[in-house]
Amino acid sequence: MASTTTFDPGALAAIAAGAAAAYPHEGCGALLGPNPGGGTRRVTQTIPLPNGETGRPRDRFEVAPRDYLAVEDEADRQGLSLLGFWHSHPDGEARPSTTDRAYAWEGLLTVIVAVENGSPRDVGAWEILAADAPFTDVAMELQGTGSPVSSLAGRSGA
């Protein structure tokens, strides 16, 4: 039974723009939204973050601890919750790798967008329901219409 998360169009556009801008490196950012309080998560805002991985940013990403604290503070300031993080796979697949799973946290959504030759394409979302459980799919829907979201092509609004 896959859970669902809705995304505001502006948030999707910001993810697409961030992923495209970071290409050919992996891009990343934080996902914010109202506290779900047990209901459906809704991502209303994303904050792009620098990729703190200096060694191999083409196939690794890292959020610097300082940046983590800053986005959590920002979420608190706005009365929102930190819902998770997105990152991109340049010229790769929108599918979590073993590394992605190793760093996953219960309670934080993982969104991955594939970027082909600088253009955002497929996007997917996952979560883990227990510390040692594998990723489970999360259905992405557009806030308002409820239509499924599986690609960010054409969404960067550039």
């Binding site: 990403f61 697949e93 510390a131």
Partner: protein
């Protein structure tokens, strides 16, 4: 004394959604002990089994990571905050969906898994030779998904190869082995790269060719190239997966610089030329290199994966007639001139010379030398000239003068009867040194009309027939 612990979002489920927890403590460790007493669910998230902070968690005090302070013993002042920050990271897999399906039988093995398969894809192996040993090795390395496979060979496919060189087939007879290999390997696995080196491995190019690969697999058929490969691997610090075959017996080992012995520790000197026949002369059971080459591929894959116990320091001996395996312990030789304590071999040398294929500077008897122009003139005139090539078979494979009869120098004394005693004999070798000795020998045996081709086949290739491959 009271400190505040900041709980990050994903861990708030264990504190009843509390963001800040106040505890009386003087160090981070003390604070955590109290924290875990109140909220036991937090402990396995933050500390590992060894009682240390997990790698996936960062702990900051006054803006500094406690890893760079005193760890859990870091002191905290009254009113200070301890911030727990989860590590947020990840990365792409280099395998596509199709590759994940293709390698599923590997992914199921705990010793391989997705991370192991990714290592294979990022890894590279250079095969010296695509013949008997190289054929099975290349096939299994390609099937395993080694990301980049380099092949060195300058030979063309001959029908007699197909008794054992299963990488090739009848469609490729007469065509370059590398082209045949590329075609077959790409058909087997289109997700990997095949790099072709249409060269004969030599001192001038060995370091440049081998440098770009993680592992070298020695599939050569002659001693000069074995020593060259060994020495080059030592200087480049690459593991050299060795295999050799002879009739019904095979050997396999790994020569890993700095970890174990090298080929010279095992065989400090090559055998005298002509003593150990090649496959073409001594014969070989076709399936024998299939076994040895597959064992070599196994070792290369294990090296890339970093699993199992390598054959470094061990020599496996296989007897096909017995179907038995024996193992010998090999040790680094402290007196080895390449990897031992007093290293006299500090660069690549002339390996033909080292293997005795060019030793001795005996001057040719006066009046016994002819130039390549003389020989050309005689042949064009239709003179009855018997051309004798005293090089080794693998050299004749590289280049030969049409009409020459090959009798390697070491075997010449017992094969004199094969020569036409009444004809004019012109002897040649690579550069004119061995042939000078042969002329000595023949004239002493009473064959007076014997001449040495000055400059050897190298001179012939330079002046008369540039289509010949030089070496």
């Amino acid at each position: 004394m009271s400190v505040q612990i900041r709980i990050p979002t994903p861990l708030r489920r264990h504190t009843g959604d509390q963001v800040h927890v106040e505890v009386p403590a003087g160090t981070v460790g003390e604070a955590f002990d109290l924290l875990f007493e109140r909220h036991p669910g937090l402990k396995p998230q933050i500390l590992g089994e060894d009682g240390r902070v997990r790698g996936f968690v960062n702990v900051f005090v006054a803006g500094e990571d406690i890893r760079f302070l005193e760890g859990l013993k870091t002191a905290v002042a009254d009113g200070e905050q301890i911030a727990i920050v989860p590590a947020i990271a990840g990365g792409a897999s280099s395998l596509s969906r199709e590759e994940v399906l293709r390698y599923s039988r590997h992914l199921l093995l705990p010793e391989v898994g997705l991370s192991g398969q990714e290592k294979l894809k990022k890894g590279s192996v250079l095969l010296v030779g695509t013949g008997g040993l190289g054929s099975p090795a290349a096939l299994y390395l390609a099937a395993a998904g080694v990301g980049r496979i380099g092949l060195v060979d300058f030979d063309v496919v001959d029908e007699s190869n197909l008794q054992r060189q299963i990488l090739h087939d009848t469609r490729w007879i007469g065509k370059p082995k590398l082209d045949s290999a590329a075609d077959r390997l790409k058909a087997l696995n289109p997700y990997i790269e095949i790099e072709l080196h249409h060269h004969r491995l030599a001192s001038a190019n060995a370091l440049g060719i081998l440098e770009g690969y993680d592992v070298v697999l020695d599939g050569t058929d002659n001693f000069a190239t074995r020593y060259l490969t060994n020495d080059a691997c030592f200087f480049l610090k690459k593991p050299n997966v060795y295999g050799s075959i002879f009739r019904f017996e095979g050997q396999v080992s790994v020569f890993w610089p700095e970890k174990g012995p090298c080929y010279r520790c095992l065989y400090p000197e090559p055998p005298p030329p002509g003593l150990v026949p090649s496959c073409a002369e001594g014969g070989v059971l076709g399936v024998l290199p299939g076994v040895i080459g597959s064992l070599q591929a196994t070792e290369a894959i294990k090296i890339l994966l970093g699993v199992g116990r390598s054959l470094s320091g061990r020599l496996v001996l296989y007897d096909a007639l017995d179907l038995s395996f024996r193992e010998l312990r090999l040790r680094r030789d402290p007196a080895c001139p390449l990897c031992g304590e007093n290293r006299t071999v500090t660069g690549l040398v002339d390996y033909e010379e080292f293997c005795g294929l060019g030793r001795g500077e005996e001057a040719a008897p006066p009046g016994s030398e002819i130039s390549v122009f003389d020989l050309k003139e005689w042949l064009d005139r239709g003179d009855a000239v018997q051309l004798l090539d005293v090089r080794e078979p693998h050299e004749a494979d590289i280049c030969a003068i049409e009409g020459a009869r090959l009798i390697p120098l070491a075997t010449l004394p017992e094969r004199l009867h094969e020569l036409d005693q009444s004809a004019t004999i012109v002897v040649h070798c690579k550069s004119g040194v061995r042939s000078a000795r042969a002329v000595h020998l023949l004239r002493q045996a009473g064959l007076a009309r014997t001449y040495n081709l000055e400059g050897g086949i190298l001179a012939w290739a330079r002046e008369i027939d540039p289509s010949l491959v030089s070496y």
